[in-house]
Each structure stands twice: as C-alpha cells, then as structure tokens.
Amino acid sequence: MLKKTLVALALGGALMGAGQVMAADYAIDKQGQHAFVNFKISHLGYSWLYGTFKDFDGSFSFDAAKPQDSKVNVTLNTTSVDTNHAERDKHIRSDDFLNVSKHPTATFASTSVKSTGEGTADISGDLTLNGVTKPVVIAAKFIGEGKDPWGGYRAGFEGTTTLKLKDFDISTDLGPASESLELIISVEGVRK
C-alpha cells in the first residue's frame, strides 16, 4: 500500500516536472515587449510599407501534444499604429482608414486550431477590425519554448494572415496593388 502510494506520487511528480508536454496558459509578454503585431502593405506596387501596433495585449494556451486544443486571444489599441511618419499615422487613424475614434480596438479570438505539420498550425478565428468581424486563418509556426534565466517559462510563435481592406469596410482606394495587407503576429508568452 505504501509502496503503491509512493510509486503513484513519484509518477505524478515526474509528469508535473515534464512541463513541456502539458497544456499551459501563457500571457503575452507585454511588460518586456517581446511581442509584435506588424503589418505589410504594398505602396503603389513599388515597395513594401511596414507598420506596427505598439499597444496590444493577449494570451494563449498551448499544448504541444494536443495543438488542436490551443487558443489565442489578442486585443490591440488601433490608435497605437506607427508607420514611422506622423502625417501618415494621423491619416491612418482617421475615418479614411482605421477610424480609431469610432473603433479604438481590434481583436482576434481563435475558434479552432488545425495542425499542418511539425510545429506549424492553421489558427482559425474571428478578427474584428474597423468594427467588422470576419473569420480569418493565421498560418502559425512554433518558434521555441523553455525556461528563461529569471524563473519563468516561455513559448513563442509567429503567424501571418492576409486580409482584404474592403472586407473590413476600409474602402479608401490605395490602388490595385494595395487591396490587401499582411498581418504578422510574432509573440512570446510567459507561462502563467
């Protein structure tokens, strides 16, 4: 009886210790800002314009053994858009584009995850942008995970999705090359 209890306790302890293979909740590292929500859109068909949203937060739960049970939630402050140009950023915030006074936040909430290979998955979810909610699929890649030197445990991902501006009621005509925009979400989470 004692031996069985001891064995059970030892096994349980071993399983707990092997944290990697357990489902875990992570908070996006906003404090250290090891997370970025960037976008890329063509300028006149002649070059790429990159921008970022500086203020966002979120969380994800991830289980390497059961990736289909993973979840992601991100909320961003649309006013925090930054393309390194004050006049352009002011224009992007206006009702010609993001209309931030009317829609101060944009969100992504995952609905399902499908593994597409070793360390990659398609994350389906609802993207709410400019007050419009549409389903999108983020092609995600697992970058790595493990203990950090300061007592925490981290995991990181990068995912991309391409969306059409018109689908989100952003109707200002920037030309035929600029009808869609690529969102690049690159995040590191700290295990809660």
């Binding site: 390194n84 004050a86 950023d89 005509d173 030309g175």
Partner: protein, 181 residues
C-alpha cells in the same frame, strides 16, 4: 502715402501686410479644406499639402514681422465716434485674430513635425522639428488646427462684416483707413 503709420492714418507697410495676410488666411483655409478630400492618386495629393505648409510657414514669419512692426509703428488712434464698447470689442477681436493665427500656425507645425521630421519650405530649406514629446501629438495638434481654422475663418468673416457695418451703417472712416484714406 507714408511707409509708417501716423496718429490718423495707416501707412503702406501695415496696409500691405493686412491685405496679404487676409489673402493668405482665406487661401490657406480653402486649400486646406480642399486638400484633405483629395484622392490618393490625385496629382495634387502631395503638392497641395506641401504648398499649404510652405505658405503657412512664410505666413508665420510675416505675422512675426507684423507684431514687431506694430511695436515700431503703432496703429492710428481710435476714431472719435468709437465709444468704449466699440474700442473694447475691437481690441478683443483683433487680439483673437492675432493670437488665434499664431496658435493655428504652431499647431500645424506640430502635426508635421511630431515624428521629428522637418518641414521643407518650397523645397528651398527645411524648418526643423522641435517639440515632439506631446502624447498623440499629431492627433491633438490636428484637432486644434482644424477647429481653430474654422473659428478663425468665421471670425475673419465677422471682422469683415464689422468693417462694412462701420462703413455703410456708421458711415465712419474705419474701412477706408485700411485703404490708406
């Protein structure tokens, strides 16, 4: 006509500056109003704002010169039939126009320089950025600029109507003085 103002008449410098600034202010309002509605592919999309900013910055120098000139050559005395209320209203109204224009031009400058970028003036030289640390600078300055532009252009219209009132109703020299008479 003299260059300087006298106790009874405006001189050429004040008169020229007054009408040039009036032209610039109404012109810049119209240009600003029109340019924000331009399509991305309009040939004027870049040119119109460049012109608006260049003229605005030159106007700033003219207004500074105007304030200095006012110290050097004060305006003529109030007309004898201008009572206390008229003189007070005149002082307040003109102060609002002067002050409002300076705040308007500075707010415009703060929009474009919020990211540390300078503003080119007719492609000849650049006015550097200075204050860039106001939170949401380009947006806050933008709102100030937009609302003040409307307030000023409406008040300038009232200013013109007041001059016409003095001319046609009071039948005094107020308006004619700004033509040198």
């Amino acid at each position: 006509m003299q260059w300087r103002n006298s106790s009874s008449h405006y001189g050429l410098v004040s008169i020229l500056m007054h009408w040039l600034v009036a032209l610039a202010v109404f012109g810049l309002f119209a240009l600003g109003y029109w340019m924000v509605g331009l399509d991305y592919y309009s040939g004027w999309y870049k040119t119109a704002p460049d012109l608006h900013k260049s003229i605005g910055l030159v106007l700033f120098t003219v207004m500074l010169a105007r304030v200095l000139w006012r110290g050097f050559s004060p305006p003529p005395a109030s007309l004898p039939d201008h009572g206390r209320l008229t003189r007070l209203a005149s002082k307040l109204g003109h102060s609002f126009l002067y002050l409002g224009l300076f705040v308007l031009m500075i707010s415009g400058y703060l929009i474009s320089t919020a990211d540390g970028r300078g503003i080119p003036v007719f492609g000849l030289f650049e006015v550097p950025a200075s204050l860039t640390s106001i939170p949401d600078q380009e947006d806050v300055a933008g709102l100030v600029h937009e609302y003040l532009a409307w307030a000023l252009v409406i008040f300038a219209g009232i200013h013109a109507l007041a001059a016409l009132k003095h001319h046609f109703i009071d039948r005094d020299r107020t308006l004619m003085r700004m033509f040198g008479r």
